[in-house]
């Protein structure tokens, strides 16, 4: 996407300087991320140094501590299980629902779509208490299932809305031609539509994944020992008289890496996803 020239826009050398200034600004903005990644490779001695240290011999000590002392592998696995299951279920249900909403004549379809979107605004704190008590009674407190069910409910409205946005943009002639060829709706969805909106599905999946992976409040209330996720474990690095900054840095870095990779792989589509629904 390239912008047309704007009034007062500078070019040439001055434009180059402007570009460098923008790059400088972005790097300045990202400094906290750089700082915490750097911290993850410092020894406790360097971390508590009164003057911040930028150059030092990196150590993997914090990562070792994280996995040995806090058994970080378990919450990491819990997070991956819950997040992956949530994403798969959400995308499956959302694809079916958004296809019906975007491309079929559903009586009251528009109202259903708006109602679903409105659910996105429900404050988690208002929902989590009833689920806490209900899950205790049913016996799925502190289990993967208990968390997955709630996460699916929380992500489904947004996913449906987002996929609907991508689906509306696919030209209608495509399905009409397929229908004339005698294909049913499910076949059209799978064979014609899905390949076209694959980037949209990927972006929706990533948003769902990131939300579920980062979610704290519901995981804090609905899990304790067995199913506790990464954010819940990380929040325990805050101890009464100190915070284990080395472990914080290491865990933050581990959480950050997959997100960085994915954001860069899908950068163009992510921009589309972010602006979807807001600009159109």
């Amino acid at each position: 996407m390239s912008a047309a020239s704007r009034p007062g826009e500078v070019r040439g050398l001055r434009g180059g300087i402007a570009g460098a200034l923008i790059a400088g600004f972005v790097l300045f903005w990202l400094f906290p991320i750089y700082w915490i990644v750097l911290t993850s490779f410092k020894t406790p001695l360097i971390i508590n140094e009164k003057t911040p240290v930028f150059w030092f011999t990196p150590t993997m000590e914090n990562y070792r501590h994280l996995f040995d002392e806090f058994a970080f592998a378990k919450p990491l696995l819990n997070s991956l299980i819950v997040t992956t299951a949530t994403t798969v279920i959400v995308i499956f249900l959302a694809l079916l629902a958004s296809y019906a909403l975007a491309r079929m004549n559903v009586p009251g379809g528009k109202h259903i779509a708006l109602w679903m979107l409105s659910l996105r605004f429900m404050p988690p704190i208002a929902i989590v208490l009833p689920f806490f008590i209900a899950w205790q009674r049913i016996g799925i407190i502190d289990t993967h299932i208990g968390l997955i069910v709630v996460y699916v409910a929380f992500n489904l409205p947004f996913a449906i809305w987002m996929l609907r946005g991508f689906l509306v943009e696919v030209p209608r002639d495509l399905d009409e031609a397929a229908m004339l060829d005698g294909l049913g709706h499910l076949a059209i969805l799978r064979r014609i539509i899905l390949p076209v909106i694959a980037p949209g599905v990927a972006v929706t999946a990533i948003f769902t994944f990131v939300f579920a992976f980062n979610e704290y409040l519901m995981a804090l209330v609905l899990t304790s020992r067995n199913a506790s996720t990464v954010p819940v474990t990380v929040s325990k690095f805050i101890q009464p008289y100190s915070i284990l900054w080395g472990d914080v840095g290491a865990s933050a870095t581990i959480q950050l890496l997959p997100i960085l990779v994915v954001v860069f792989l899908l950068q163009r589509h992510i921009m589309r996803g972010i602006t979807l629904g807001a600009v159109k």
Binding site: A3, I33, P123, A126, I238, I243
Partner: protein
């Protein structure tokens, strides 16, 4: 919508176009089947907690003694309205949300304008800039807490380098709230900026060219042309951000736990502490309901705006 009604009425009238009517009916059955799983699941998952928490908010219910629960009607709400801490937390919630929103829009607009030019490398910078949006609030909150640390934190170190006094950010009743707002601004300004940028880039080249021919300065162009054209986008994004800010729990809980005193004690934190530290589930549900009502005012406005645009 209109087409389906037409088809339905044709259906009922038993018109000659039998294959068309049958197709319409089978399509509707198919649509229902596709929609039903998500719809039914969401219905159950919203109706149950809504009714349960409403009922709970009219109970005296202590989590440590569930056997003593009894119905008290509106008493929890009446108590809430007379409670000083409740009103303080309403105030903190509104200051946090509105201040964060305002700052995000001012910086976001300037950044969007900065990005809104035709240069190579902009795409990469834009992608880098979006990263904060995807970071975990828990990790993020701790990162900033580390930087706010009074004796070895980076921020005080820089302040000292500039000859300014050190501040004990998170322990100061004056500075804790601005410090927390700054983190929210850090995380969400990129989101606002990139949406505004997309809006700016969808402004048609003719308008931009006309502005250039008229000899408008960059500032005049932004103020007189871009801002009015972006108003619908600003409304929608503003409402999304406002609602999300009103609901914020994780970031504040991790950075300050609501302290010092009630300096950063927002409604979600109040509801959480009342329910899960003091075990007063009825009170906690009542606080949540106040939050739900506040959020719903803005959510209704949002849905109304969107519905109008979809027409």
């Amino acid at each position: 919508m209109a087409i389906s009604m037409e088809r339905a009425s044709l259906d009922r009238a038993g018109q000659a176009s039998v294959p068309g009517a049958r197709q319409a009916r089978s399509e509707r059955r198919m649509a229902t089947m596709l929609l039903l799983p998500a719809f039914a699941f969401l219905l159950v998952m919203t109706i149950f907690p809504t009714i349960y928490s409403l009922w709970m908010s009219m109970q005296q219910y202590n989590l440590s003694r569930p056997d003593l629960a009894n119905f008290v009607g509106s008493r929890n709400y009446v108590q809430l309205l007379q409670d000083d801490i409740f009103w303080k937390s309403v105030r903190v919630t509104l200051i946090f949300s509105l201040a964060a929103l305002a700052i995000q829009f001012v910086i976001g607009f300037l950044v969007a304008n900065m990005f809104d030019r035709d240069r190579r490398g902009m795409t990469v910078l834009r992608t880098l800039f979006i990263i904060p949006v995807f970071t975990s609030p828990v990790a993020l909150g701790l990162t900033w807490r580390y930087m706010y640390q009074p004796s070895y934190g980076l921020i005080n170190h820089f302040l000292e380098g500039l000859g300014l006094p050190r501040v004990n950010w998170l322990a100061s009743t004056d500075w804790a709230l601005p410090a927390v707002i700054a983190v929210d601004v850090w995380q969400w300004t990129p989101f606002v900026a990139l949406i505004l940028l997309a809006g700016m880039q969808s402004i048609s080249p003719e308008i931009t060219e006309a502005a250039e021919l008229d000899g408008l300065s960059r500032f005049q162009y932004l103020w007189r042309i871009v801002l009015p054209l972006l108003l619908p986008v600003i409304m929608v994004v503003g409402l999304i951000r406002l609602i999300d800010a009103l609901k914020t729990f994780d970031l504040i809980y991790i950075i300050t736990r609501g302290g010092p005193g009630t300096a950063t004690y927002t409604l979600p934190l109040h509801a959480y502490s009342t329910g899960f530290s003091s075990f007063l589930m009825g009170q906690s549900a009542a606080i949540s309901w106040v939050l739900v009502i506040i959020v719903n005012i803005f959510a209704t406005l949002f849905i109304w705006l969107l519905a109008r645009r979809e027409e």
